[in-house]
Amino acid sequence: MDFGFTDDQRQIQRTARELLAERARPERVREHAEAGRTDAELWRELSELGWPGIAVAEDSGGQGLGRIELSILCEELGRAVAPVPFLPTVLAATLIEHAGSPEQRERWLGGLAAGETTGALGVAVDGTAELVIGAPEAQVIVLIEEDRTARVLAAEEAEVTPIASIDPTRSTARVSAGDDAGEPLSGDVPGGIDRALVAISSELVGVCDRALEMTIAYVKERKQFGVPVGAYQAVSHRCAQMLLETEKARATASFAAWTADSDPERLPEAAAMAKAAASDAAREVTASAIQAHGGIGFTWEADVHWLYKRAQLDAALLGGAKAHRAELAAILAEQLGASTTA
């Protein structure tokens, strides 16, 4: 039993954090968010380092590392609110890798792993997904229908209409596709979705972590009535609550990433837990961050709102906390049924 990272994993984490501290500084994130542009230079750099392909199999052009390593990168990019299409690209790659045919993998994974093409993943109703992160620039789009069937489309096979969301650190679009557009993904779609949920959850953990870090720094600094506001228990206990939520999300996301690699039978349960915990945590922690920043937290000028906004989109992506708790309750009922009939 060892809950810690391996030396290699710690190295990945350290390198990623150092690089993003340098290349995705808040002013740079702001500059791109305000211009509504992806940070193409950063994306190129991350691609050269092989980040988008970290969990893609080596024979498909990736690094062949595990979901834990991918989660580490997702968390760091969430911390930085980096304006790059990393998450949508790895989500698309995950579905194609787990549910695609050899031909589909051959066609798409190399480019996605190398960051030469970017991807997007949307949940559609009758062929239309209302808000798909990363779709405006994606070359490949995966659409999942509510019945958990999925298909892969080249961008030109779909109608992609850019739409502004509250989170301008990433592009978003409405994606619509006719019934016969694209190709069905006929493999393990649920397994792909579960792995996608883990990646999103990890990004949310990073968002929480950064929101808490910024808040702690602020409440130590900001004085009212002659003392740092962080000395007041109304504020410090809120911060403690933020840590509790963050650690709950982190524990469940780590567990889910581990099951994806090492105990896939428990993955459906672990993924639902992680997405529910991380979605709730991120909304609560980033909201608390704004509250603890007081008036300045509500201004455009303070950077804490980028985290709040990303938290909302990720929390809603592939189902919010309530949806995943419902899923979990069904899994528990099934386990109970299995144990009483056994």
């Binding site: 039993m1 060892d2 809950f3 810690g4 990272f5 391996t6 994993q9 834990i68 808490l212 702690i216 409440v219 130590k220 003392v227 740092p228 962080g230 000395a231 007041y232 228990q233 410090s236 206990h237 911060c239 403690a240 609550q241 840590l243 509790l244 650690e247 709950k248 524990a251 469940t252 780590s254 567990f255 581990w258 090492s262 105990d263 837990m273 529910a276 915990a277 309530k322 995943h324 708790r325 419902a326 979990l328 309750a329 069904a330 528990l332 009922a333 109970l336």
Partner: protein, 386 residues
């Protein structure tokens, strides 16, 4: 990251599980009150002791198995899973013994450790006082040297929340020995013999109706100098060792109990056809997430402790989450089962009321939040006018 157990850890679990399968305690006494219940737990500890399972975490030289922290956690998971009672001398095994191992003299270790293990001598904890709860260091119980017998101390004061005091031979007592020193510095840690008239034990009836705890009235009790642990004036440090051990092991057993209670509730919901009722499914799923988070965070804390030595203040998060979750769980149980869950004598009514103490005992949630804020997050402490 590797969430599987090593072959050695698995062998440890299998051996214990096998032993527990073949060695069940006698049925829990239905009547006879507290005394019968205590005797039942003492007899159970003796069987654990005979098989070498009373305190596997103790070093072999003191009669334990030298179990690693992971094995020790496995031990409590299995004890919880088997639904067997805690040993009668749990406070001696988990708190007193380990404290003596750190601070005791060779003579003290030789004298006191063996009877803790065998349940011949039961231990209790004399820390809290009516006016010293969360602010433990403000305690007022006084110990002064007897002018006529300078190798003896005379102790006067009052202690509260002392569980098992009526069965105890020894009390881990923290008393003020220097009125002049700063409040954390004037304290000394003693082992007080409970078998003297100067110590009166009065049961403290709690909201469940039973008396798990007691008040101690100490009126010129005598303690020989040889029973000072860790040196005069060093009581706060020694007490912290005791408190650090308080949550470490027991946490795993409590977490398993919580899990069992949730499994019982899920089964009760299923029986009533409420498991897919959205009014309850959401709350049950949230409880499941919390239970799993507690388990994962407890294991993570253990990994950190094994890597970096001491358990960190992060353990406060686990205790906080556990106590809050247990309260939510028992409230939901009443919602799901209905008012009959509140019938006196039912296990749910007991669990419901007992859970109310969880956010107070072993560090109130408010104090835990302070610990997290100050020691984990590094936030400044508000200076309170004295």
């Amino acid at each position: 990251m590797d969430l599987t157990f090593s072959p050695k850890e698995t062998a440890f679990r299998d051996e214990l599980r096998g032993w527990l399968a073949e060695n069940q305690p006698e049925p829990e006494p239905a009547d006879g009150g507290e005394d019968a219940h205590y005797t039942w737990r003492r007899d159970w500890q003796r069987r654990l002791y005979d098989a070498g399972w009373a305190a596997p975490a103790w070093p072999t030289e003191y009669g334990g198995r030298g179990a690693t922290p992971t094995e020790s956690a496995i031990y409590f998971e299995e004890i919880g899973r088997a639904r067997v009672p805690f040993a009668a001398n749990t406070l001696g095994l988990l708190l007193g013994g380990p404290t003596l191992m750190v601070w005791g003299t060779p003579e003290q270790k030789e004298r006191y450790l063996p009877p803790i293990l065998s349940a011949e001598e039961i231990w209790c904890q004399g820390f809290s006082e009516p006016d010293a709860g969360s602010d433990l260091a403000s305690l007022k119980t006084r110990a002064v040297r007897d002018p006529a017998h300078p190798d003896e101390w005379i102790v006067t004061g009052q202690k509260v929340w002392t569980s098992g005091a009526q069965y105890s031979k020894w009390c881990m007592l923290v008393a003020r020995t220097d009125q002049e020193a700063a409040k954390h510095k004037g304290l000394t840690y003693f082992l007080m013999d409970m078998e003297q008239d100067a110590v009166q034990v009065r049961p403290l009836r709690q909201i469940t109706g039973e008396a798990e705890f007691n008040e101690l009235f100490i009126e010129e009790a005598r303690i020989p100098d040889a029973n000072v642990v860790g040196g005069v004036g060093n009581g706060w440090k020694v007490a912290l060792t005791t408190l650090m051990n308080e949550r470490a092991g027991l946490g795993f057993a409590l977490q398993i109990r919580l899990r069992q209670l949730l499994d019982d509730l899920i089964a009760a919901a299923a029986e009533r056809g409420l498991l897919d009722d959205p009014r309850y499914a959401d709350a049950l799923a949230e409880l499941h997430i919390r239970c799993e988070s507690i388990r994962l965070m407890a294991w993570k804390g253990l990994t950190d402790a094994e890597r970096y030595g001491q358990p960190g203040p992060e353990g406060s998060l686990v205790k906080w989450l556990w106590s809050d979750t247990n309260q939510r769980l028992t409230e939901l149980a009443v919602d799901i089962i209905g008012p009959q869950a509140l019938t006196t004598g039912t296990s749910w009514s007991y669990e419901f009321l007992r859970a109310r103490g969880n956010t107070i005992e072993g560090g109130t949630t408010e104090v835990l939040k302070n610990i997290v804020a100050e020691r984990v997050l590094g936030l400044p402490r508000l200076k309170v006018a004295a």
